[in-house]
Symmetry: C2
Subunit: 463 residues, 2 copies
C-alpha cells in the first residue's frame, strides 16, 4: 500500500531521496563519479542514504559506502542498513576499520551489526574489541538470544537511588557526559538496586527541586525480563504507550532499556514475518541466494505435492465415473478453488486473531462457529451461481449442475471449518500457526473437496 504526500506542502528538512535523485545517485555510483556522489550525500541524512542504498546492487552499495569520508556519518548509515547490507558493505573491511565504526554507534546497534558480519570477521572484531568499553557491553548483549529483550536492549540507562531529590537528579543529568540513548525516563532504584519506580524528565522539572524522587515517581513500573521475546516486548510497549521499557533480572535489578524505536522495527518485521510464513516464503534479504530461497519454499510446497498425489489417487478411484462423464473433470478446478480460497480466508483471520491475542481465551468456539456460518452463506451463494451455470451449460444432464451446487456448498462450509480450526489447533499444541497453516489448510481442503464432489456426482448421476 503506497500513498503520496500532499505535493502542495513543501518538505520541511530533507526527508529522503525522491525517485529522480535516487536514479541520479545510481548513475553517479555506476560512473564512479566520487566527487559528485559526495556532494549528493552531503545533502541527506544517514537514514535517507541507507534507504536509498536498498535499491542498489551489492557492488554499488559497497562502492557508495566506501566514498563516505565522515566516519560518524558512515557509522550512522551502517546502523540503518538492512542486516544483509551491513554484512555486504563491511565484507572487505579490516577488523580495525569495523571496530572504528562500531565505537561510534550505540552498543545495542553495534551488537546488531556484529551479529550480521561474516563469522571470520566477527571473531576478529570481537577480539579487537576486547579491552574496549563498547566491547564489554557488546559481550553482555551477545549473551542474550538475539530476538529477546536482552538482545535488543540498550545498556545505558539513567538510574538514581531512592532519596535523591529532583534537583540533584537534574544537576547530575546536566553534569554527566554519558551518552544516554534518547533519554525520556529516569528509573528509581532502592539500596539493593531493585527497580522501584519511574519518572519522566518533565516530572523532574515540574516539582520543587527538594522533592525526593519517590514522591514523584510512578510505582510498579512495567518491566520485562531479558529473555522476554521481542514480540512480547513490542506488545507491552504498544499496550501501555511507552517510550521505553526497562529490562530487569530475576531480582528486579535494571539491566537495560528497550526503546520504542527498536520496538517499531520489531513490529514492522514481525507483521511481515507472519504474512511470509503463511505463504511459505523467506525474506529475500535473509535467504539471499536463489538456491536457498528455492529450498526454503520447496519445504512448504511439499505439502501441496502430498495433497496433490492424494488427490490423484482419489480421482483414480473414480476413473470409470469420469470416463462416462468427462465434463465432470471440468468442475474440479472451481470446486477446489472456491473451497481452497475461502479456507485460506478463514485461516488468515485465525492467524491474525491469534497474533493479536483476541481469540486466545474462550472465544475459540465462537470464532469457529462464526466462520462456519460465513461458509454456509457463501456456500449457498456460490452453489446457486455455479449450479445455475452447470444447469445452463449442460442442460441435458441436470444432475451435473445439482452435483456441482451441492459440492460447492459442502466444500466451502468444510473449508471454513478446517481453515478456522487448524490454526487454533496448531497453536494449542505449540506450533506456530502462521508457519503451518498455509500447507495444511490448502492440502486438507483440496483433498476433501474432490472426495465430496466425486462422491456426490457418482451418486446423483447414478454412475
Amino acid at each position: 500500500v503506497t500513498h503520496e504526500t500532499n505535493p502542495t506542502v513543501p518538505p520541511v528538512g530533507s526527508q529522503g531521496l525522491d525517485a529522480r535523485t535516487e536514479a541520479l545517485l545510481r548513475r553517479l555510483v555506476r560512473r564512479e563519479a566520487e566527487g559528485a556522489v559526495k556532494r549528493l550525500l552531503a545533502r541527506y541524512r544517514p537514514q535517507d542514504i541507507a534507504a536509498a542504498m536498498e535499491h542498489l546492487t551489492w557492488q554499488e552499495q559497497r562502492r557508495l559506502y566506501r566514498s563516505i569520508d565522515d566516519k560518524d556519518y558512515a557509522a550512522a548509515v551502517l546502523t540503518h542498513l538492512h542486516e544483509a547490507a551491513q554484512n555486504e558493505v563491511t565484507r572487505d573491511m579490516s577488523e580495525e576499520a569495523v571496530v572504528d565504526l562500531l565505537e561510534r554507534v550505540e552498543p545495542d546497534d553495534a551488537t546488531d551489526i556484529l551479529g550480521n558480519l561474516d563469522e571470520g570477521l566477527r571473531e576478529k572484531v570481537i577480539e579487537e574489541l576486547e579491552d574496549d568499553p563498547t566491547g564489554e557491553e557488546v559481550k553482555t548483549l551477545l549473551a542474550w538470544p538475539r530476538e529477546s529483550a536482552g538482545g535488543i536492549m540498550s545498556t545505558t540507562v539513567f538510574t538514581r537511588k531512592v532519596g535523591t531529590t529532583c534537583g540533584q537528579a537534574i544537576a547530575e543529568l546536566q553534569a554527566t557526559h554519558e551518552q544516554f540513548e534518547a533519554i525520556y525516563y529516569l528509573y528509581v532504584v532502592d539500596d539493593k538496586d531493585q527497580l522501584q519506580g519511574v519518572c519522566s524528565l518533565r516530572n523532574l522539572l515540574t516539582h520543587a527541586p527538594r522533592t525526593p524522587l519517590e514522591k514523584v515517581m510512578a510505582r510498579e513500573p512495567i518491566a520485562v525480563a531479558p529473555t522476554t521475546d521481542q514480540e512480547e516486548v513490542a506488545r507491552i510497549v504498544a499496550r501501555y504507550d511507552l517510550v521505553a521499557v526497562p529490562v530487569v533480572d530475576e531480582r528486579r535489578r535494571i539491566l537495560g532499556i528497550v526503546t520504542v524505536d527498536d520496538v517499531v522495527d520489531v513490529i514492522r518485521e514481525e507483521a511481515a514475518e507472519d504474512m511470509m510464513l503463511m505463504a511459505g516464503v523467506s525474506d529475500p534479504y535473509r535467504e539471499r541466494s536463489v538456491l536457498r530461497q528455492a529450498a526454503y519454499r520447496a519445504g512448504w510446497l511439499c505439502a501441496t505435492v502430498v495433497g496433490g498425489i492424494l488427490a490423484a489417487e482419489i480421482v483414480g478411484l473414480y476413473e470409470h465415473t469420469l470416463q462416462s462423464r468427462a465434463v465432470l473433470a471440468g468442475f474440479v478446478p472451481v470446486i477446489m478453488g472456491t473451497g481452497g480460497n475461502v479456507g485460506i480466508q478463514s485461516a488468515t483471520l485465525a492467524v491474525r486473531e491469534l497474533a493479536t491475542g483476541r481469540v486466545a481465551v474462550g472465544g475459540t468456539l465462537q470464532f469457529v462457529t462464526r466462520e462456519v456460518w460465513i461458509g454456509l452463506l457463501l456456500g449457498t451463494l456460490f452453489a446457486l451461481v455455479l449450479g445455475s451455470y452447470g444447469l445452463a451449460r449442460y442442460s441435458s444432464e441436470p444432475m451435473l449442475g445439482v452435483s456441482v451446487a451441492a459440492s460447492v456448498f459442502c466444500a466451502m462450509s468444510l473449508a471454513t471449518l478446517i481453515g478456522s480450526s487448524i490454526p487454533l489447533g496448531l497453536q494449542r499444541v505449540g506450533i506456530d500457526p502462521a508457519i503451518a497453516t498455509g500447507p495444511f489448510v490448502t492440502t486438507g481442503v483440496d483433498v476433501l473437496s474432490i472426495v465430496v464432489y466425486l462422491s456426490i456426482a457418482k451418486l446423483l448421476l447414478g454412475l
Copy 2:
C-alpha cells in the same frame, strides 16, 4: 506467533490479566457479581481491562463497563478499547455521559472515540461539546481525513519562539498547567510561527540557562503535512527513530504532533491490513455481522468463480482427450496446486517488497528475474518428483508421467512470472497490489496451468 514470558521472572507491576484471571472475570461478569468485579478491576490498569474485554461478548462488555465507577478510569479504558467496542459500550449512554468521558481524554483520542459512535449519538455529542475547549479541538481534528496525520495528531504542542533562552523555556514548562501529551521535544518557531527547529528536554537541561534556543535546537526538523497518510507518517517516524513528528501547514506553521504511540498502533493495523487484503477478508471487528463479512469476501471469491468457469470451459474443449484417458483428470489438482501456491509465494513477496519500498525504483526487473529463476528451479525439482510418481503409477502409459513433469515445470515457471509481475503492474497503474493480487494471481495461474497441462498431454499422448 505467540511466546511466553520467562516464567522464572516475577512480574514487575501488573502487566495484564493471565488466562485464569480472565476466566474468573468472565464468570463474575456473567454472574453480575458487581462487588467482586470492582475489586478485581482495582488491581489492574485500564489498558489491561480494555485488552481483557476483547474476549467478552458485547453484552458482557457493556455490563462490565457500567460497573466502573471512577470516571477517569472509565475514560482511560474507553480510549484503549477496539473501535467497535467503543461503539458498543457507549451505545446506551446519554450524550452527557459520553461528553463527560470525552473531556477526560486527550482531544485526539476523543476524536477517535467520536468517530466510532453511532451517528445519532455522535451528532448529539458534538452539539453538546459546542462551547467546550475539547469540542473546539475535536472539530479541528475531525476536519482532516481519518487516516491522515491531521486525523491522528495531538494538538497540544510545546512551542516557543526563537530568542527564548533554555532557562526561560524550562521555567515556562514548569509554570504551565497545560496537559502536554507525553512531552519529549520543544519546537522552536519564528515570528511568523514557522517551524525552525526542535530540541529535546534533555538539550534544554544540559545547556547554560542563558543559551538561546536557536543555539541548541536541531535545524530543518522532519515534519509532515496534515494530509500525509498515516502509513507514510509511520514510515517517517520509523526511519528517523522519532518519538514525535510535527504536523505543519503549507506555511510551515505547527498544527500538532503525531506521537510514536499512535504510530505504533498504525503499524500494527496496517501490516494486518495487507495480509487481510491479500486473502480478501475484512477485520471482523469492522465488519461485525456475519452477513456483511460474507458479502465482503464474496467479492474477492468472484474472481475465483470466473476463473473456475473459464477452467471448466477449457476442460470442456478437451472432453475427448479426457474420455480416452480419465486418469489425466487426476493430475489437474496437483498441477493447479503447485502452480497456484508458488504464484502466491511470489505475489506475497512482491506485496511485501512494495510495502517496504524496496522494489519501488529500478529493481523491478531484477525482482521478477529472481522469482522466475526460483520458479525454474522449483519447477525442475517438482517435475522430477511428480513425473517419477506418474511414471511409477501408470507405467503402461509413460507419456502421462512425462506430460505431468513438463506441465509442472511450465506451470511453476509461469506462476512465478505472473505472481511477481501482477502486483508490480497493479502498483504502477495505481491499484493497491495487496487488494487485487490474490484473486488475479490465483485465477490467472489456474487457467494457464490447465491449458498448458491438457495441451501437452494431448500432444504427447497423441490423442
